[in-house]
Every structure is written in C-alpha cells, then in structure tokens.
C-alpha cells in the first residue's frame, strides 16, 4: 500500500511571473482552485518553497482526497529580506512579495 506513490495525485508546476522592482521582487503563481489553507509557502536554506494541494468537491459538497498538487521552489537572491515576506491568495493567484534588504536598496548620496 504505502510504496511512496500516492495514487491519483497529479503533480503540477505552477506558471510564474517574477518582476523585480526597486524595493522588492514580486512573484505571482497561478494556482487555480486552491483553498487558502491548503497553500504552503516556506523559506528554508535560502529557498522559497510553495506547494498547494487541490481537492475536488463532489455534488454533495464533500471534499475529496487531493487530486492535484502544485509545487515549485525558488532560490532566493541574497538581497531578499526573509523576515518581511508577504503572501496573498486571490482569484487563484498567489502573490508573494519579497522585500529587498535595506542595505541593498538604491540610495542617493547627497554631496555636501
């Protein structure tokens, strides 16, 4: 039974857009159909791991076993401040904002 292969679960790689702005990186992942509490985002060893399991809802409205799983991992650049990461899930899109550490922000030096 438990041979490590989960029957019927489809592993998918979510499509991602990454934009670098002056102060942050914005990461957007398409994860349609996920319940917010089934989405996990973790930072470990300078990498960001995102996973979400998707269940189907039958006619009775009862939740099934997960049928799909989205997984993706990103290596973080060393200018990312791991303490201020923000994640929002809306309309099937997970948006993660990774702020840059203050010392990496562009600054203007005034001439005295």
């Amino acid at each position: 039974m438990t041979n490590g292969v989960v029957k019927g679960v489809h592993t998918l790689v979510p499509a991602v857009d990454i934009v670098e702005t002056k102060n942050s990186y914005i990461v957007k992942l398409d994860i349609p159909g996920a319940a917010k509490d089934k989405i996990k985002a973790q930072i470990e060893d300078n990498s960001l791991r995102v996973s979400a399991s998707i269940a189907e809802y039958g006619e009775s409205g009862k939740e099934s076993e997960p049928v799909k799983e989205y997984r993706r991992e990103f290596a973080l650049a060393n200018d990312v401040d791991v303490n201020t990461i923000d994640a929002q899930y809306d309309l099937g899109v997970l948006t993660i904002t990774l702020n840059k550490k203050v010392q990496f922000l562009p600054k203007e030096i005034t001439i005295n």
Binding site: A15, D17, E20
Partner: protein, 162 residues
C-alpha cells in the same frame, strides 16, 4: 451560364478512376478523414475554436445524469472580463486577461503566466435548459453547470415481462 458546385470527393474519385496513380491519394484522403472523425467523435463537448486567441485556458468537462459541468482555469481574471454566450447549441467562453504587472515599474525576470485574449467554444450534444445555466467563479476557476432538458436525460424504461 450554369453554376456547378464543385465536389472535391467526386472529382477525386473520377481522377482515381482515370489515373491509377491517384488511387493511393484517394485512400490517403479516406484515412485522413477517418482519423479526424475518430479524433473528434466521442468528445462530449467538441471544441470548436483553435485560432485567434493568445492563450487557451485548461478546461475539464464532466457529464452527469442531469447536467454537463464545465470547469475552466482562469486564474487572475476578473469576473467581469469573462463573457459566456450560448448560441445555436454552441457555448462560448471568451475574455481578456490584462497584465497587471506591466503597470508596475520593474524588470520582468520571468513571464510564464498567460495574458491576452482567449476564446473557447463547445458544441453541446443534447438539449439543455438554457435558462438554467449556472456560472460560478471562485479561486480562479469558472464552473458552468448546464442542466440537461428532460428529453436529453437517460431514461430507464421498465418493460413489463408478461
């Protein structure tokens, strides 16, 4: 002047009768037709459009006893940007997803998500109650429930054995 509608099949057959070399072509044509017929047969809702769109949302179609259920993945879309129409038993979902990141100042490091115009059409095989179509949009998934009309539902007829 007479206008005669061109019939390629007939022409083909005439050619192959007169020139044996064309027989191979004729049988190839039949094979191609058969392959196409088989490819589209058995598809509960045959997909009608392939062109004129920037991306194609993934769609699941299920058939129950009472209804057809269609689920389309439209992550990041606003409900108001999706239009659903039913015309001559052809259901069409179309819309446009605007790239909200373009407005932000920044450099794209990766762009994998789809943007732009999409359109998908499906021919509904049986009769449905077109006034009772239900459309829900949640978490980036559009779910359409098309209830079958009474005459399209599978019937169980009890045959009395005398």
């Amino acid at each position: 002047m007479s206008l005669i509608k061109r019939n390629p099949t007939q022409e083909m057959t005439r050619w192959s009768n007169e020139f044996p070399a064309f027989r191979g072509l004729e049988s190839l044509r039949r094979d191609m037709n058969r392959i196409f017929d088989e490819f589209f047969r058995g598809d509960v809702l045959a997909d009608e459009t392939f062109f004129g769109r920037d991306w194609t949302p993934a769609v699941d179609v299920m058939e129950n006893n009472d209804s057809y259920v269609l689920k389309a993945e439209l992550p990041g879309m606003n409900k108001d940007d999706v239009k659903i129409t039913l015309e001559n038993n052809v259901l069409t979902i179309r819309g446009e997803k605007k790239n909200e990141l373009e407005k932000k100042e920044g450099n794209f490091q990766r762009v994998e998500r789809s943007y732009g115009v999409f359109e998908r059409s499906f021919t509904i095989p049986g009769t449905i109650k077109s006034n009772d179509i239900d459309a829900q949009y949640k978490d980036g998934i559009l779910t359409l429930t098309l209830p079958k009309a009474e005459e399209a539902k599978p019937k169980l007829i009890d045959v009395k054995v005398k």
